[in-house]
Each structure stands twice: as C-alpha cells, then as structure tokens.
C-alpha cells in the first residue's frame, strides 16, 4: 500500500504541464525593444504616485506599426482633445540594451497576466546600490511591454504604466503615421519641453518634471531615461 502511494506521488509530476523555461534577460529585452512584427492597438493607463498625495492617472490610446512607429493619443478632459504624440523609435535595440546593462542588474522571473496575456517579469536593480528601480512585464509570445513600474530609492512606487486593453494584431491606417519622425531631443512619453531659461531646459508632463543643462539631467527620471535624455 505504501509502495503504491509512493509510486503515485512520484508519477504525478510527470503528468503535470511542464513549466516554460525562463528566457535570458538580454534575449527578452532585445525582443521587447524590437517590438512586435505586426500593428497593434492598445489602451494604456498611466498612474503617478507622488509622496503624500492622492494617486493621479491618465489614459492613453496607442496605435503602433512595425518599425517602431508609435502614435499616442492622450484622452482629453473637460471636453478638450488631449495631445497626440507621433514618433518613431530610431535608437538601435543593441544600444538601448547596452545602456540598461551599464546601469542595472537584470533578472527574469514569471510574471502574472496583464491584459489577458501571460508575461515574464524583468527586474532592474541599480548596480551601485542594489535598489529595485524598475520592473517590466513583457508578454511571452509577442515580446510587448505590457506593464512597467518605477520605484524610488526608498522602494516606494513612483509610477506605473499598464496596458489595460490590447488588440494584436490589429489593422491600423498607415495614414495615421504620415510625417512620423524620431523625437529630437528624446523625451519620455507624454513629456514636453516647457521652457528654457539661462540655458536650462525644463521638461514636464504636468505632474513630474526634469531639467537638462550642459548635458546634466536632474529631476523625476530613472537613470536609464536620464542617460537617454542627456544624449548618452
């Protein structure tokens, strides 16, 4: 009887569904930075968590085409249309990976389900202090960035961007990308130049801001975004 129970216990894992092997961090990031091979339409929710204040959020409708073409339409409020960002990601994926590698230690684990897609979770910890700075959830099949969280030095959540709806593949009118060009200078999504004074340029999204002067960046930016904003 005992022998039979042992046989059943040992045999059970053999019938279980095998777990997908974890991909390498570099492989996963390169797939994410290259982007899907088809057009897609998504709705993104961006949340900002300022210390001691109520969380704020906005909704962005995204349309994307192969080749890094992206159109982000921010949902307006008070019957006003929101701003539209139209740009193409022109920086080679290898360069972006090298920037992340120079700043962070990267680890991969299984992520949850985001917008009905299974994900891998990428954790980016600062090499200098082992602080968790970013966490990325990447869809397993398409390599699309589904969710991103950015943390402060004390570990508190500063920002979350999450796709809440995703249609992939989707038919997207090519005319929506007429005149698309890279961002010069580069800024994170939703951030615009607010003004320049005494050689200091100020960029803002209405809640967060950063400044650039003589290639030095200071403000509400994670290290990899700061390096990119500075042109490195």
């Amino acid at each position: 009887m005992i022998k039979l129970a042992l046989v059943l216990l040992l045999a059970a894992p053999l019938h279980a569904k095998p777990r997908a092997p974890l991909p390498g961090a570099d492989e996963l990031i390169l797939k994410m930075l290259t982007g899907p091979e088809t057009s897609y339409v998504a709705v993104e929710r961006v949340q900002v968590f300022a210390p001691g204040k109520k969380p704020k959020a906005m909704t962005v409708n995204i349309k994307a085409a192969p080749g890094g073409k992206i159109r982000r339409e921010t949902a307006g409020r008070k019957k006003k249309p929101g701003p539209i960002e139209l740009y193409v990601e022109d920086e080679p994926a290898g360069k972006r990976l090298a920037r992340l590698r120079s700043l962070y230690e990267l680890t991969v684990s299984t992520g949850g389900v985001v917008a009905k897609r299974k994900t891998w979770k990428l954790e980016l910890r600062l090499k200098t202090s082992v602080v968790l700075r970013r966490a990325l959830w990447v869809s397993r099949d398409e390599g699309l960035l589904m969710k991103r969280e950015t943390y402060r030095d004390d570990g508190t959540l500063a920002r979350r961007e999450r796709l809440t709806k995703l249609e992939l593949p989707a038919a997207v009118d090519a005319a929506l990308f007429a005149g698309v060009a890279p961002k010069k200078p580069w800024t994170p999504s939703g951030v615009v130049l607010a003004g320049e004074k005494d050689g200091t340029r100020t960029y803002t999204n209405g809640l967060e801001s950063y400044t650039v002067k003589d290639g030095r960046v200071s403000g509400d930016l994670a290290e990899d975004d700061a390096a990119r904003a500075a042109g490195r």
């Binding site: 969380p55 409020r77 701003p83 999450r162 004074k197 809640l207």
Partner: protein, 108 residues
C-alpha cells in the same frame, strides 16, 4: 536896439520853442519798462544755465530717466525669460489638467 525890440525878440524866441508833452515822464518810464521785459537771447541762455535748485533737480531727473531708457533698450534679452516663464506656466497647467484622481489600483 531899444528896449522894446529886445522884449519882442524874447517873445518871438519863446513862441518858437515847442512845449514838452505833459506825460513825457510817464512815457519815458513805460518805454524803459518795455525794454526791460524783452531780455536778449544771450541773457535768456545765461539765465537758463545758471538755474536754481529746482532747475538742477529737474535736470538730474531727466538725465537719470534717459540713462535708464538707454540701459533697458541695450539689454533686450531681459524680457525673454518673462515670456518663457509664461509659456511654461501655461503648458504645465494644460498638462496637469489631463490627470485625474485615481484609486491607485493595479488592474486591467
């Protein structure tokens, strides 16, 4: 010449003399006053240059104003930051309006 002839000659001489007008003194005073109220150009210039304390004060104020105008016009970029700050404030306010209060939840 007898005594009568001499008297006649004196009477003739008196009749030849034109009598002076009665208001001659007043006329002379009026003419002198009129001449005095029309100073020459030179006198006017000299008087302007040798002004009193009021004139010096007004002159100094005018000079200071002129120097201030010259300095402001010579530094036109001083007005630029004011304009930039105004634009920045507008952008900040418009972008801030796009954000709404949120429950902070992590869900689709």
């Amino acid at each position: 010449m007898n005594e009568n002839d001499e008297r006649l000659a004196k009477a003739a001489m008196k009749s030849l003399i034109v009598p002076a007008p009665e208001s001659l003194k007043a006329d002379l005073k009026r003419m002198a006053r009129a001449k005095k109220t029309e100073p020459s150009l030179w006198d006017a210039l000299r008087e302007a240059l040798s002004g009193d304390a009021w004139a010096y004060g007004a002159g100094a104020a005018f000079a200071a104003a002129a120097v201030a105008v010259v300095i402001v016009r010579a530094v036109p970029e001083r007005t630029k930051p004011v304009e930039t700050v105004a634009v920045a404030a507008t952008t900040q306010a418009e972008l801030a309006d796009l954000w709404a209060d949120d429950d902070g939840g992590d869900h689709d």
